[in-house]
């Protein structure tokens, strides 16, 4: 079939669908975890009880993970409304209110997609959406990821149709001129790679999509694959045509079962209508895509290690050259790009490069996708033009910090990235500015920290991760990270000397220099940036045995404020797992420090109106035991 016909059919299906009432429910992993499937059940039951037929479509994620389960209801000639945090009860109410009746239930609405004189929030004008620009997340959460026609009706596969009319050289030239940089971390120019692969003289070449997403705090690749898998597939097909490959693989971590299922379905549908497989759209070009499941190792995300895993070997990086473009999978020239890099390709080829070039900064074109997590109001996913300041991301998009706490830092790029402090909030974010600040774009995962998060403990956390994930090939990475970790542990437990800070610096440089791949080369980044921006905190740990954020267990003690403890309440006594809290009925409770395991349960259960349990650091500041006074008897009493 010709593409025009496929498109016409898809558009007419979409037209019928969008002009009839329907319900969209976000069921990406985040939606499911928040209970979206129960909400769907409730909608189904309520609809069938009333004998009404309205399609319920499971869509991906629009990036507002905090609002899940998220439901969008469309009614012809009426407002299209998004509802947040929908429960099964609310679902029944929405059927009654808005599907059957005319009450849009605005009190539980997030906003509308059309302006409305009643003053309902207009979604495109929410602060978040004013800064966002969605080039690759545009369809996520609005189309059915399991229906290729939804994708085609929304500009999908037009780029492929255009590409097949161009020469491979022209396509590579456009990718080059667009300035597209790889979104997998290092920001390598995609056009360069494509060009090398295209020029490589070989009969067999491969395209690999890196969906390993190993950073423990980033999930955008998962969201894209769960919400709009065809976009990535289209990008890969165009890449295959451009470099002269007939086979591609998506390497996706086994921890993402839903993504795998949706990709599998997407590949099948693309094959069925001739957009993938033999003689694509009658062009004579063949391209097949398979899925390889990763078995979970952070280092497998590194390009050469990934290829080793695909060949069924231990996933250890190797020396380059030869680059993958010369000798990759089974020795053949291989183009490896990240999920997002491929996702930009349909936009760039479909719209021409000018639009892409007009967005972003001088050397970082287009948009950046970030996942937002940690101590902010609105965790989720966002896409903003390169060069957007951190301040806008924190305060407008993420809604600022939770519980009126103060912003302390943001860790960007996971274990390879660094901590960026408040003084750099006006930094326009792009590949190069982050690098200068000692961090890197990396995965694009952002974790926001407030005053209750300890900089040293965070560095220790990442080092613990890299130590476990180091493949062991390079001594500096295997042993050096272990030494770094052990020094950080000394600091967190109050055993370190001030000279250790210098040692950390030195050792960090050695680990960077002495490691082959990015894992070791960037492992010290969290240590170096936290020392650079939060040096005082390190010194407080070392010199005063004090953890200012009250996190490091060995430097804090739990204490019950005598004046705040309500004598009648026994919550803390009841939950303490080590029976460390003493005090009878009507007495002030006291923690026996010797027995306390610092599990924090007493602090958690102490009713907010008393707020009597506090953490104290350094431990030497702990008030002396109240001997002989009222309250629990210690000896006398």
């Amino acid at each position: 079939m010709r593409f025009e016909e496929i498109k016409k059919r898809a558009e007419s299906q979409w037209g019928v669908f969008s002009h009839n009432p329907h319900i969209l429910v976000g069921t990406a992993t985040c939606g499911k975890a928040a209970g979206a499937l129960d909400v769907i059940e409730a909608f189904k039951n309520e609809l069938s009880r009333r004998d009404i037929r309205v399609p319920i479509i499971q869509v991906g994620c629009i990036g507002l993970c905090y609002a899940e389960p998220l439901v969008i209801i469309s009614k012809p000639d009426s407002l299209r409304i998004a509802y947040h945090n929908v429960t099964p009860d609310l679902a029944s109410r929405l059927v009654e209110g808005y599907i059957v009746g005319d009450d849009p239930c605005l009190e539980i609405a997030l906003g509308t997609f059309e302006t409305d004189e009643r003053g309902t929030p207009y979604i495109p004008e929410l602060p978040r959406f004013e800064h966002e620009l969605r080039l690759i997340l545009g369809r996520c959460g609005y189309i059915d990821p399991e229906n290729i026609h939804d994708y085609i009706a929304n500009r999908g596969y037009s780029a492929l149709a255009r590409a097949l009319g161009m020469s491979p050289e022209q396509i590579v030239e456009e990718i080059k001129r667009s300035g597209l940089r790889g979104r997998g971390g290092a920001g390598f120019y995609a056009g360069e790679k494509w060009d090398q692969c295209r020029r490589a003289p070989a009969k067999r070449k491969y395209v690999i999509c890196n969906a390993d997403e190993g950073d423990p705090g980033a999930f955008m690749d998962r969201v894209i694959l769960e919400s709009d898998p065809q976009e990535v597939i289209e990008g890969m097909i165009i890449a295959g045509y451009a470099i002269g490959a007939e086979r591609g693989y998506i390497y996706v971590r086994a921890e993402y079962p839903l993504a795998i299922e949706r990709i599998r379905n997407a590949l099948r549908q693309a094959e069925e209508i001739g957009l993938l497989g033999e003689d694509i759209l009658g062009s004579g070009f063949h391209f097949h895509i398979g899925i390889t499941e990763g078995a979970g190792a952070f280092v497998s995300g590194e390009a050469t290690a990934l290829v080793a895993a695909m060949e069924g070997k231990r996933s250890e990086p190797r020396v380059r050259p030869p680059r993958l473009a010369e000798a990759g999978l089974w020795g053949c020239p291989t183009l490896l790009n990240n999920v997002k890099t491929f996702a930009y390709v349909p936009f760039i080829i479909g719209n021409g490069i000018d639009q892409f070039l007009s967005i972003g900064t001088e050397h970082s074109k287009g948009t950046a996708v970030f996942t937002l997590a940690g101590k902010i109001q609105y965790p989720g996913l966002t896409e903003v033009p390169m060069g957007t300041t951190l301040r806008k991301v924190v305060y407008d998009i993420a809604g600022g910090m939770r519980n009126q706490k103060k912003f302390k830092a943001v860790q960007i790029g996971g274990p390879s990235g660094g901590c960026i402090p408040e003084t750099l909030l006006d930094l326009p974010i792009d590949f190069d500015s982050l690098h200068e600040a000692g961090s890197m774009m990396g995965s694009g995962g952002m974790i926001f920290m407030d005053e209750e998060d300890c900089a040293v403990d965070t560095a220790r956390f990442f080092l613990d991760f890299t130590t476990k994930e180091s493949c062991g090939k390079c001594t500096m990475c295997r042993m050096g990270t272990l030494q770094l970790l052990s020094i950080l542990e000394d600091i967190c437990t109050g055993k370190a000397k001030i000279e250790d800070m210098e040692l950390l610096q030195e050792l960090s440089q050695d680990v960077k220099m002495g490691s082959l791949c990015g894992l070791g080369r960037s492992a010290p980044n969290p240590v170096l940036t936290t020392m650079r921006y939060f040096g005082d905190e390190y010194r407080a740990h070392i010199l005063e045995k004090r953890c200012p954020a009250l996190v490091c267990k060995d430097l804090i003690a739990y204490y019950i404020l005598r004046e705040k403890c309500d004598r009648a309440c026994e919550h803390c006594i009841l939950v303490c797992p080590t029976e460390a809290i003493k005090g009878g009925k009507g007495e002030i409770k006291v923690i026996n420090q010797e027995k306390c395991s610092k599990c924090g349960t007493c602090l958690e259960v102490c009713p907010p109106e008393y707020h009597a349990v506090v953490k104290i650091s350094p431990i030497s500041k702990l008030p002396p035991d109240p001997k002989g006074e009222e309250g629990p008897a210690q000896g006398g009493g």
Partner: protein, 159 residues
């Protein structure tokens, strides 16, 4: 041949000679048995024409592979960055205390096992624990005991 051996033979037969297929084969065996039985390793090696040490090398490299059976109620505690900041470690310690096992172990009666995982991608619900594929959002050390109740009752009923 026991039923288990037969299942193993089936898997190996389907992938005979595919050296590249080592990881998919091991994943499949694990899906079938819940872990990688020691006895399976030489047979995998033989069917692919490689040395057993290569199979062991891969099996011990990747986090997904387990060399011991899991408990009937397998518990995963997320130790991703967001969960760590939100106090995931306290949740893990509470589980260790409640179940009286250390992370990575299975209880002697085979009912519970405890594992730490890097990130399950639900950072907005941090800290998260997963018990038998059910996600428990915004956990705390205090909520641990209650979360375990249904599984403990089930285990008691089984015994």
């Amino acid at each position: 041949m026991t039923e288990k051996e037969e299942q193993l033979s089936h898997i190996l037969e389907r992938h005979r000679g595919e050296r590249n297929g080592l990881i998919p084969i091991l994943l499949e065996i694990q899906r079938e048995f819940g872990y990688l039985p020691k006895e399976a390793m030489p047979r995998v090696a033989e069917s692919l024409g490689i040395k057993p040490v290569e199979v062991w090398g891969v099996a011990t490299f990747f986090n997904q592979f387990r060399l011991t059976p899991l408990g009937r109620n397998h518990i995963k505690v997320c130790m991703g960055t967001a969960c760590h900041l939100a106090g995931g470690r306290l949740v893990l310690e509470a589980l260790e205390r409640e179940l009286n096992i250390k992370v990575g172990e299975t209880s002697p009666d085979g009912h519970f096992s405890l594992e730490r995982v890097a990130c399950i991608g639900c950072c907005m619900l941090a800290p998260v624990a997963v018990i038998k594929d059910k996600i428990y959002p915004k956990m705390s050390s205090f909520k641990v005991e209650e979360a375990l109740i249904p599984y403990r009752q089930e285990s008691k009923a089984e015994d």
